[in-house]
Symmetry: C2
Subunit: 154 residues, 2 copies
DNA sequence: GTTTACCTTATAGTAACTTCAGGCTTGGCC
DNA sequence: GGCCAAGCCTGAAGTTACTATAAGGTAAAC
């Protein structure tokens, strides 16, 4: 199976496959006489594993760890649970952060229901005032007093 | 005011300020005899405007547009409304996508409440089976039949 | 024999910074 | 005056997970 066929079967781009191989996530296949990558079914399983993890928004670093467990199943799987728990926590924080953000944007949008000139635009005024340290429609009603309401988890 | 002071007042990193100047978002200040950047209060306002927009998760490209309206308030502000509306739509889709993802991860996490060896770990088994084309605990109950449930808006 | 589809590598670009390397300036202390 | 630490400077490279491009080789059909 050549790379194009593998890509079609897995539903990803050819370049992505080469990238995963380059990153050491996908094991390197044999080559044909012409130097073409020649895949077998276990490669499809490997690739699908990676793509499935990615569809759960795991980083390639996380996938790398899970792939380690996959290839060495003697290990204690507590590490898997931890990884999923941490990832879940990250995603949960992202959800909360984005929901707050959505409320902030809606509040901002309320400021300018009709189109006028920018000098009188409530949205822009709010943004400019906020930069001056004024209470802002977007952050004040929801924020907890910290300077910028929307924080990424690190 | 030197760059370190400006950074402390605005609550950002020195490098971020230099980056914004480099990107043409923040106007370049005067320099001292030694070549140090010397800021005045309008720079703080400018910087806070950028940081506030960024705290609303706007891209620098979006901030650039809003900064244009800010410096030229004669323009029709319909563009501002459009920008906020589009951004709101993007954020809303992100929220929905991440909420789905969270459900998927919770379903996956359910598979392995206790720690055993990876060979019998329900999470890993689910991930591996999914790669084989089996129905997976994470995607099946929520997915709509498409291969990978979590899609980014483009 | 040529067109078409497919494959190869290496390199650069994306977003929004962050980090690093290597070097100058300022201010305090002795 | 000498020394040191903190703070400033520039320019380049690193980060993530690809995506795109350039320039070219190969295989099969027509």
């Amino acid at each position: 199976m050549l790379i194009g066929q593998l890509a079609r079967q897995a539903g990803c781009e050819v370049e992505t496959i080469r990238y995963y191989e380059h990153e050491g996530l996908l094991s390197a296949p044999e080559r044909t006489a012409a130097g073409y990558r020649s895949y077998r079914s276990e490669h499809l399983g490997e690739l699908n594993f990676i793509l499935h993890c990615r569809s759960l928004d795991m980083s390639l670093a996380e996938v790398r760890i899970l792939a380690g467990f996959r290839s060495d199943p003697q290990q204690d799987c507590a590490g898997i649970n931890d990884l999923i728990d941490r990832h879940l926590e990250t995603v949960h924080q992202q959800v909360e952060s984005l929901q707050l953000l959505e409320q902030q944007l809606l509040a901002l949008r309320e400021r300018c229901p009709a189109s006028r000139d920018a000098a009188h635009c409530g949205i822009l005024r709010t943004l400019v005032d906020a930069a001056q340290g004024e209470a802002c429609a977007c952050h004040t009603p929801f924020g907890d007093g910290t300077r910028h309401g929307h924080t990424e988890s690190t």
